[in-house]
Symmetry: C2
């Protein structure tokens, strides 16, 4: 049992300061639980002078991460700068210097996690990344430990707080996407350039990580289908409600006949599904596994406190491994190579909204096309648009293959009575 | 790395068979994840001939648990008989024989977990009990690892599937307690003698376990306040709905100014609280902690599959500890001794239903009593009973100390205009 275990933090921004602060304010409980004192010995940041919300000993601050990576007294390095470069190089150097590493970096994990895990694993060192998915929600550790007797069949997550906040506000206040986005930016819930969140990149990194763990097979994030929430309108939200659904940006991973489906897109889910009541910046991950059945993990997905909690939890687990000589006890779990299916293999229900001329026979013409493509319809809502001669109709299909729906919509778009196919949203039951 | 790790199961009933079955059907994934083959070498049960839903090698079955406890080749013992006697003796003997132990036994844990944990901890052996709370839901492991940097402030759980099933059916089908209980018994969701579930004993064991871990201080389960669901009527459920609440049997633990409150009773919770949508046999544990904020863990709380998943998860973690020489890495975490407050210290809102004569001045007489006891009222519903001369009124208080409400109700019962105080249910916001 080491009396003191030293931690170095690279990237002393929101999360880094959160981690430092947790070690101060919960110091006593942490020491009792670990049996060692955990000390943040050094923090590195490119900007030493930016305003920080915490009190800290400025003598531990450096602009040079090498002072952490090369410090023989530092046992655990927390990488909290994000992005691939230079985080990847810092982590690799730290691992090669015998450090255990904890990171919150979903992009790096999704793109290059495998090589880092293997490098650490071969050296019997720890490389932990609980914070990369779901912020403060324990999900990666439970999947690797408590659920290790299970065969994970399906993961559905609301894993991006920004988009969930926007969709929640759009639904609650009947506002449009652009308006809520601007407000979210003003409140700090969305970045000035919101692409990473709004177009589903962030969610894709996260579901690639979860799917890799769940299915024991590496998922190439560049092949994950990704669709953001920019096309979701107030109308779609209202019609979804009428049909008994809520619209969420879902990150979905399924194992079907030994192959993987991994995708991120807006989806309608039944209002009574546990994920439907996950609102605002909250995240949740819903898992179906054999034998455990359905599970859901819910909590705050971002922020200094939630992310800080997960980083500190990882550091504590590593510290316990150091004290029992068992670092590297759980390493990479991608033992298999499973095929990642294309969207052509996806089967689900579909919601389609279209604008048509307002004449008898229109619905029949459209239904005929669906029928010819073997797509059955479970509900149709015919709506007035307020414009004379024009109508809107909403179609919900039974479970149908993605290509059949795509072919149907191409043919329907070409019908003279159809002005436009306005939106197409998948429905996950 | 041991090529084979041997498991012995004491108690080969529903959960025991579930565990055996999981080791068969997920054998390959488990072996990949652990690095060793996990083999159920022997199972013990007092009744060798009872019908079992699985195929198994009958040569491993014995009626004598000593054949497991004394088998030098068995590394891990899973105790799945439940109850204190003889489970406690078997576990203690197994620990003293150098075995690691996994159990699902909440009663034993709540009553004598401390001595078993200490015995195992001193010998650097593992004693795991994830299954004792929340069935298949990972909750104890996350609290001890991922959340170890947190100060747990509050735990609210729906931790008894039987009572949650009964309350859900009562609400959905407008049936009374006795009727639904009888149906639940027929379906196997309630025992023939339902006392353990319906009167809150089971929930009390579970919240005592969670509170002990969360607050790092042993909770004496015999001092946990406990009230079951027998008094909940259709009327209360309907009025709760009208007021925006659902009624759930909650297991509650709070740390207030360094002291603990631990209690089990029916409570009204707002319909939009994440716990409100936990229905039927599902369980959920809602945690508020510093810094992580609010978390919820949701899943199936009982049954061969859910409980089996948790037992196997524990066995896998122990197996990894065996392989890395780190058994005993997390032992008892009750480092402190915190005072358990009595119900007199509890402050919450209250729902009170009473029958009165139908005369002017009745509400005023009742309000006067509440006022005299410093209990403020936030809502009153006056209802007709259908009987001439008689009325029903529903009162919801602001947050008030339990003794003030109790004194008020004593005085109100004595008012000539009050026929009876029919029910009194706490409200948790």
């Amino acid at each position: 049992m080491k009396p003191v275990i030293n931690v170095g933090i690279i990237g002393f921004g929101v999360v880094g300061c959160g981690v430092y602060d947790i070690f101060q304010r919960n110091a006593r409980a942490i020491e009792l639980r670990v049996g060692s004192k955990l000390v943040v010995k050094r923090v590195a940041d490119t900007d030493p002078d930016r305003p920080r919300p915490i009190e800290f000993d400025r003598s531990i601050l450096t602009t040079n991460p090498e002072e952490i990576i090369n410090d023989p007294e530092i046992d655990i390095v927390a990488e909290l700068i994000g992005g691939v470069d230079p985080a990847q190089d810092y982590i690799m150097a730290a691992i090669r210097n015998g450090k255990h590493v904890v990171t919150a970096n979903k992009e790096l994990l999704a793109k290059s996690g495998h090589s880092l895990l293997v490098e650490a694993g071969e050296r019997k060192q720890d490389f932990y990344f609980e914070t990369s998915v779901g912020g403060g929600i324990p999900i990666i550790n439970p999947m690797k430990t408590s659920l290790a007797g299970n065969h994970i069949r399906e993961i559905k997550g609301i894993v991006n707080g920004t988009t969930n906040y926007i969709l929640t506000r759009m639904a609650e206040e009947e506002k449009d996407f652009e308006e809520v986005l601007t407000e979210a930016q003003a409140l700090g819930y969305a970045e000035r350039d919101p692409t990473n969140d709004v177009d589903g990149h962030d969610a894709a990194y996260k579901i690639a990580i979860l799917a890799s763990i769940g299915f024991m097979s590496r998922v190439d994030v560049s092949e994950v289908y990704r669709e953001g929430i920019r096309n979701i309108t107030q109308k779609d939200i209202a019609y979804a409600k009428e049909l008994g659904y809520k619209i969420k940006l879902l990150a979905i991973a399924k194992e079907i006949d030994g192959q993987m489906q991994v995708r991120v897109h807006p989806a309608m889910i039944p209002v009574n599904h546990p994920l439907a009541s996950v609102s605002h910046v909250y995240n949740a991950i819903y898992i179906n596994a054999d034998p455990v059945g359905n599970l859901m993990f819910y909590g705050r997905g971002a922020g200094a406190e939630a992310a800080g909690s997960a980083v500190v939890g990882d550091i504590i687990d590593v510290a316990r491994n150091i004290n029992t000589g068992s670092t590297g006890r759980i390493s990479c779990t991608c033992f298999e190579e499973k095929v990642l299916q294309s969207m052509d293999e996806v089967q689900c229900k579909h919601y389609i909204r279209m604008k048509t001329t307002d004449k008898p026979g229109v619905l029949s013409a459209i239904s005929t096309v669906f029928g010819a493509n073997n797509v059955s319809i479970t509900a149709v809502l015919a709506k007035s648009t307020g414009e004379p001669g024009s109508a809107e109709s909403i179609w919900v299909t039974h479970t149908a293959p993605e290509p059949s729906v795509r072919l149907s919509l191409e043919a329907i778009s070409a019908l003279p009575v159809v002005t436009e196919v306005s939106n197409w949203i998948r429905v996950e039951e």
